[in-house]
């Protein structure tokens, strides 16, 4: 449990030496409690206090970072069961599983690595690859796996998960990934000692797998005793219901019972029941606390909705998704097509864009920077006024795109039309409907 400022104060030297740059130890303690400073700023704190403070400050779900030379993925460190309580912080890593022996490995990895899709101005991609060694421990599998890792490193700089049950096979492949942080899959009660040894040797994170949470809780302290701190849990479970149960229980144990033994992120294999279920398996894992989601299928029509779902679920509820301010072209507008104005609150943008798009009528949609607020809220907060709208129209150089200098204002801010006429004296200002749903009719009837 996190300590309060007063509790922290009691563990400090209480000499008010000011070397931490704060006037008193109490002031420093308060800053520590608010996580605004590091304990290392205090040169005199005792080892015992350090240990106690470190324990209390450790997150209930351990932060695991996978890193390659190009990118990194952080998972864990979550603090709530429901996103509205605060937010979900670290998006689950989406990894594509490839077999080391796959003759098309290079092409598949290159295609998946290059995949990029844009959603409301943000570019999304996959996070990395899970490379699976041959399941039989034949003498060749080590060579096949190292060759596969080399192949992937030839086309991708994203972090890796190495899958195999033979520590010796994984060991040689990990040797190629010096300086990276890789995830090893998987250790169970039969091989955890050897797996923990290679995890420690290569500073890799290690997945532990067991049939029940009880068995997992037996395993994590043993691996920890071998010197491995970065662990990830495979919760097993035959179907969505079982996995949801276990995932909820593990998150609850970590957050509500402060049960450090299972305070690690989880990994989930979405393709385990075949491609038809892969989308819904992955969707549940994204919504319900998974740390890593491994896919078996690389198809844009699957990846894109999953990336969007992940973004939606992990959006901070306090900070609504904002659309990039700018001029959006709807239904291939021509210079004479109408110009609509709205704010950059995503839902506002979507309502307007959807209605216009659905109507089939071409339009230019000017999205102003209203700090992510809806039309009325932004107007009330002074973030959507004549000055800002005029600035957007001029800043985006709208005049160079359109021949008919006419702007449609949202009906809710009809009051701005006079001022806007002053700001944009060579433009005609029209007041449109209050609700987006009435736009198509307005555009058909009033704008000809």
């Amino acid at each position: 449990m996190p300590l309060s400022g007063i509790q922290i104060y009691k563990l400090l030297p209480q000499t008010n030496c000011k070397e931490c740059s704060f006037p008193t130890c109490l002031a420093f303690a308060m800053k520590l409690a608010a996580k605004q400073v590091e304990l290392s700023a205090c040169p005199y704190v005792s080892e015992a206090s350090k240990k106690q403070l470190a324990e209390s400050a450790a997150p209930p779900v351990r932060l695991i970072t996978l890193k390659a030379n190009g990118t990194e993925v952080k998972v864990g460190n979550e603090v709530c069961m429901f996103r509205h309580e605060k937010t979900f912080y670290n998006k689950p890593g989406l990894f594509l599983r490839l077999k080391a022996s796959d003759p098309e490995l290079a092409q598949k990895a290159a295609a998946a690595d290059a995949y990029k899709v844009n959603y409301v101005g943000m570019d999304f991609s996959l996070d990395g690859f899970a490379v699976e060694a041959d399941s039989d421990a034949s003498t060749g599998s080590a060579q096949v796996l190292t060759a596969a890792v080399k192949t992937i490193r030839g086309v991708s700089k994203r972090p890796l998960i190495l899958i195999g049950s033979d520590a010796a096979v994984l060991d040689s492949a990990l040797g190629l990934l010096a300086g990276e942080q890789t995830l090893i899959y998987t250790a169970d009660s039969s091989n955890y000692e050897a797996m923990a040894d290679i995890a420690k040797k290569h500073k890799a994170a290690l997945v532990l797998k067991a049939d029940s949470l009880d068995a997992l809780a037996d395993l994590t302290p043993k691996v920890q005793a071998k010197g491995v701190e970065d662990m990830v849990l495979d919760l097993g479970g035959k179907n969505m219901g079982e996995w949801l149960t276990r995932s909820t229980q593990v998150r609850r144990l970590a957050l509500k019972a402060n049960f450090r033994t299972l305070g690690y992120p989880t990994i989930f294999f979405a393709g385990q029941a075949g491609p038809e279920k892969e989308a819904v398996y992955a969707a549940q894992a994204i919504a319900k606390y998974a740390g890593f989601v491994v896919l078996d299928t690389f198809k844009p029509e699957l990846i894109y909705p999953l990336l969007v779902l992940r973004e939606n679920i992990y959006t901070d509820p306090q900070k609504p998704i904002q659309v990039q301010p700018g001029i959006y072209e709807i239904n291939s507008p021509k210079p004479e097509s109408p110009v609509l104005i709205t704010t950059n609150f995503s839902i506002t943008y979507f309502s307007v864009a959807n209605e216009v798009e659905g109507s089939g009528l071409p339009a230019w949609l000017v999205v102003t920077d209203a700090e992510g607020m809806s039309v009325l809220t932004a107007w009330a907060a002074g973030k959507f006024d004549a000055e800002r709208i005029a600035k957007a129209v001029k800043g985006f150089d709208l005049a160079s795109k359109v021949s008919k200098k006419r702007i449609i204002l949202p009906g809710h801010v009809a009051v701005l039309s006079g001022e806007l006429e002053e700001e944009l004296s060579d433009w005609e200002i029209r007041v449109g409907p209050r609700e987006a749903v009435d736009l198509p009719a307005f555009m058909k009837q009033a704008l000809n």
Binding site: F82, R83, H84, Y115, K116, V117, N118, Y119, L213, D214, A217, D218, K238, N239, M240, G241, E242, L244, T245, T248, Q249, R252, L253, K256, A257, F259, L262, E276, K277, A279, V280, A283, Q284, A287, K288, K299, P300, E301, L302, I303, Y304, P305, L306, V308, L309, N312, I313, T315, P317, S332, S346, I347, F350, N354, E357, G358
Partner: protein, 316 residues
Amino acid sequence: MPIEIPKDKWPGKIKTITIGATIEEGGTRSKSITIGGQTTLPYLHFEAPMPNKPVIAIEIKSRKSDDWSPLLVEAWGDAMEEPAEWAKKAEEAGADLLVLALTLADSPEDAVKAVKSVLGASGLPLIVWGPGQAEKDNELLVLVAEATKGEKLVLGICEDKNYRTIVATAMANGHLVQARTPMDVNLAKQLNILITDMGLPADRVIMDPTTGALGYGIEYGYSVMERLRLAALQGDGMTQLPMIVTPGFEAWKAKESKVGEGVPEAWGDWKARAINWETLTATALVESGADIVVLRHPESVKRVQGVIDELFAVPA
């Protein structure tokens, strides 16, 4: 080492609601549907049994709609021309109940005829939506309600601007209502209060907290549903109603589902993407507490049914 799993025990309980009346119950449905009755969060069977599964409704229209995606037209074919045929096909596709959406073009006689023909063609319980304009909704739904007295239909959609007439006719004719509010816990609660204050028992109100599609605001609907369900379990009586949401309507409005041309290559295959869009929207809402999901594509129905079945395949 056996772990002690923290379990929540809630004071509140979701109302149990039955839709549709069989002959013995004064209607003509071949079965009725019961939803609600939960005493904990969705699918946490280790805490408390979930007495009723969420159900899937398929949305059909009284007349073929021009603005439905070609993929939906392909899936339903000529059945879209005739609500009775469409209803039969929807039942075959695995619907637990049907939504019949009336249109602005329907006269009151058309509306009653369409409802009767659907009731005649399928024995499933039925939800009837007006076209979405207050006056027209009231005109059509009152006559529909009177012509189907005792069937225990769900009449919709009640909103804060227009609920009195629909609630009154539901009360007079033994039906239920769907109460929609725009993604807000307090507004949902308020409308439920207004409706029950008129005298309609709470076990005849299904609340519709509204959702957005995946990518189009689903996170708002998702969290409002979680918050409504938590409030209900904590004992807030006016939120203890089962929830209906319309992922089909929302997802098929999104460009990702609706159209196949002029979209980025990174969106992939149109049909598979469209089904994923509807299925994932619905799956997320099923996880956040939906009791009825209204869908449009038969393939999505199959997949979401698979999700619900798996969520129940857990030893207690």
